[in-house]
């Protein structure tokens, strides 16, 4: 979606008709709106959100959400049915042009301001038509789950991309990159109303044996749904428990009597997590080695016997054979020896060659013994390597376990120390921490148990599916029902594979995009890491002494970011996601629209909390990532590096400023706006408050 124009009519403080035309030229993709605090930046952002999503789209920081119509206009109105506010948004999306109009009359505002009028006209191939279900169409173009990532207040996004919002972030990624569509199709195809119904149709016309299996499969499906639901609940609980633990940790860190020990414990817990990851990696390596090569350790006797056989054959001169039977047979069939003598049957020459067949070696036998000899050599080599590898991995595992025990003991010691402190608050916090920790352990164990149950159920389901498929039906109805059920099963499997591949391919791409731009803006040796479930963390490397007190290998730890750094991280994350969605839209996929799409980034005060250095980085890089950028900025946020970078890059295609009319100018707001050496009036004293949108040269 690319925004073209926004028209406001009596919306909040924008009295009368006002408009903004957005720049959609790729090289000048920034539309800049200068506005002092209190002049209407938030209202402008909300005009777009109200237009797209109605009342539900309005941001939490907008006061009196029910008052949409300009207060002065509303107060003077004598005809509430003919007094209204409207927002019109013109945008293009995937080759079509849309005109969205949302309006609300004063009469309706008094009754219920949530109920608005919405229309959506579409222009395609020179023809205009009206969408029958406008809100549905808007949600299909820009799902409400992604709007907080596209239309936002920059000063409030510092936690947007971080771990605590992982669920929302994952959802937005999946929606923007088209993965949610695949998941949704999988869920609906597997639904009781689809798969279950087809199964019932088959059950009604098949054999008793097959019907019984179908019943069992239905039962297994139900259990899978229930178990998956339980797992989801436990996962939500885990997120909540982690948040509580985080709160207690923060309180302990802030408490003078506990701060030092808590900080040490944080380090130890990171170390423990790192050791856990290493243990998992070594165990995986060990498992792989056992499944691939462990057989060689039991092949000692076989190798010895094989060697004896090949040695004996070699001693007897049977291998390598001096002459091969296939060669002699060829001579006899051809009737001529290599010495050019004719080999006619019953001649002494013929009999002499025939006699040689009794001592000739068999070609197949020779080949087989050669292969055996070679295999024995390979197995002997693998035996030693496997023995060494297993010993090394076992040593590593033991060492990691020992280190983990030491770390666990150190953590426990800290717990004992803090728990027995005379300081009542510390002791209380420590007790609460232990409680949450135990709940956490319990929750993780339950999730593990449920995962085990889910794999068992999935295996049983697959067994039943194959068994059902093997039982052939005689009736045409049953055959057709089976074909349909198979088609649904196959479709689900195909979509699951496609989804898995898409995630595998996209995650590293997004990670790279985020990391590259993050490093360009925050130059501190930090890097961004996107986990397998799309959780974003910022890491750094620290050289730590290991448990014996000697220098160990560097440890990667999560960085505790400042508010400004978090804001930059969120901005980079969103811009990278928007950029990837745009690139993905260009890749043809199995269905048009499955892939991502173009989206704008509309940012209210994106530079507010940032240091000058970060402002420069954000102004420089964000417009190069997103296809369209709309920035609302006050003069203090804009002046300096932002102005400099945008001027040099010639990125701004359209520029406006908000002129405020009212009885009093807000504190810190300037009456005039200094732009390119000119002073523009941006405050006009007036009895009635309203804001005017004025255009200036870009």
């Amino acid at each position: 979606m690319i925004l073209e124009k926004l028209v406001l009519e009596n919306f909040r403080q924008f009295r009368g008709r006002q408009e903004i035309v957005f720049s959609n030229v790729q090289s000048r993709n920034v539309t800049l709106v200068h506005a002092e605090n209190g002049f209407g930046k938030t209202a402008l952002l909300n005009a777009l959100l109200w237009g797209f999503y109605g009342h539900d789209g309005l941001t939490d920081d907008l006061a009196h959400k029910e008052r949409i119509i300009h207060e002065g206009v509303a107060a003077k109105s004598r005809d509430p049915d003919n007094t209204s506010a409207a927002v019109r948004i013109l945008f293009k999306h995937e080759g079509r042009k849309y005109t969205l109009t949302r309006s609300l009359t004063l009469l309706q505002q008094g009754l219920d301001s949530r109920r608005t009028e919405l229309s959506l006209e579409v222009l395609q191939d020179g023809e205009t038509f009206r969408e029958r279900l406008p809100q549905q169409r808007i949600l299909a173009i820009m799902p409400d789950g992604i709007s907080p990532f596209l239309f936002f207040n920059g000063e409030r996004i510092d936690h947007l991309a971080m771990e605590e919002n992982a669920t929302k972030v994952t959802d937005a990624i999946q929606q923007m990159l088209g993965l949610k569509l695949l998941q949704s199709a999988i869920d609906d195809l597997s639904h009781q109303n689809v798969r279950g119904k087809l199964r019932t149709e088959l059950r009604d016309c098949t054999s008793e044996e097959k019907a019984a299996m179908l019943d069992e499969q239905a039962g297994v499906d139900l259990k899978i749904t229930e178990t998956a639901e339980k797992k989801r609940t436990r996962q939500d609980n885990l997120v909540a428990i982690d948040a509580e633990l985080e709160k207690v940790n923060a309180k302990l860190e802030a408490n003078r009597a506990a701060a030092e020990l808590q900080s040490r414990r944080n380090q130890l817990e990171k170390q423990k997590a790192d050791l856990g990851e290493r243990l998992q990696a070594v165990t995986k390596r060990l498992g792989q080695m056992i499944s691939d090569d462990a057989y060689t350790l039991f092949a000692d006797d076989l190798v010895k016997r094989g060697r004896e056989i090949t040695n004996r054959l070699r001693g007897e001169g049977k291998i390598p054979a001096r002459v091969l039977n296939t060669f002699l047979q060829e001579l006899l069939e051809r009737g001529q020896c290599i010495c050019a003598r004719h080999l006619n049957k019953d001649t002494p020459e013929y009999q002499a060659v025939e006699q040689l067949l009794t001592i000739a070696g068999d070609q197949h036998f020779n080949n087989a013994v050669g292969a055996l000899d070679n295999a024995i050599g390979v197995i002997e080599g693998a035996m030693q390597r496997t023995r060494d590898g297993l010993q090394e991995s076992s040593r590593d595992r033991l060492k990691i376990r020992e280190d983990m025990t030491v770390v666990d003991e150190a953590i426990e010691e800290i717990h004992q120390k803090l728990g027995s402190r005379d300081d009542e608050e510390v002791a209380k916090l420590e007790a609460s921490r232990r409680d949450w920790q135990l709940k956490r352990d319990e929750c993780i164990a339950e999730i593990g148990k449920l995962e085990g149950k889910l794999s068992e159920l999935a295996a049983r389901r697959e067994e039943l599916r194959q068994a059902i498929q093997r039982i052939a039906d005689n009736e045409a109805d049953a055959q057709r029902a089976q074909r349909r059920l198979d088609a649904v099963e196959e479709s689900v499997k195909l979509l699951e594979r496609v989804l898995e591949m898409e995630i595998e391919d996209l995650r590293p791409m997004l990670n790279k995009e985020i990391d590259d731009h993050f490093k360009k803006i925050i130059d501190r040796g930090y890097w961004a890491e996107l986990s397998e479930d799309f959780k974003l963390t910022i890491k750094k490397s620290v050289a730590l002494e290991n448990l014996e007190g000697t220098k160990g290998s560097p440890l990667e730890i999560d960085v505790a970011l400042s508010t400004g750094q978090r804001q930059v991280t969120s901005l980079v994350f969103i811009a990278s996601l928007v950029s990837l969605a745009r690139r993905r839209a260009e890749i043809p996929t199995i269905l048009k629209g499955l892939s991502g799409s173009e989206y704008p980034m509309v940012m209210d005060s994106p530079f507010g909390q940032l240091s000058l250095q970060f402002r420069e980085g954000v102004a420089k890089w964000i417009p190069s990532l997103a296809p369209q950028v709309v920035i609302f900025a006050s003069s203090t946020q804009y002046e300096g590096p932002v102005a400099e970078v945008l001027r040099k890059a010639r990125r701004v295609g359209k520029r406006y400023y908000l002129c405020y009319h009212g009885p009093k100018l807000a504190v810190n707001a300037r009456p005039e706006l200094a732009l390119e050496g000119k002073l523009l009036e941006q405050y006009v004293e007036a009895k009635e408050e309203h804001t005017e949108i004025r255009e200036v040269d870009a």
Binding site: L139, Q175, V194, R480, P588, L591, L594
Partner: protein, 61 residues
């Protein structure tokens, strides 16, 4: 018409996976995705399962 100079794009892994399955399954999956695309963001979508069943019956006679 001038000949397009654009090189044919290499198929993505998921596209390769998709074309491996039988044509009726490809058609069915395409139809389901098209249907889902219209309603996937809605909280209530009562007809989707019925529509999918109709596609199954149409593509797998």
């Amino acid at each position: 018409m001038p000949e397009s100079k654009e090189q044919p794009r290499e198929q993505t892994r998921s596209q390769q996976e998709f074309v491996k399955v039988a044509e009726p399954i490809q058609q069915l999956v395409r139809a389901v995705l098209r249907e889902e695309r219209e309603v996937m963001h809605l909280k209530r979508r009562p007809d989707i399962h019925q529509k999918i069943l109709e596609h199954v019956k149409q593509h797998i006679p």
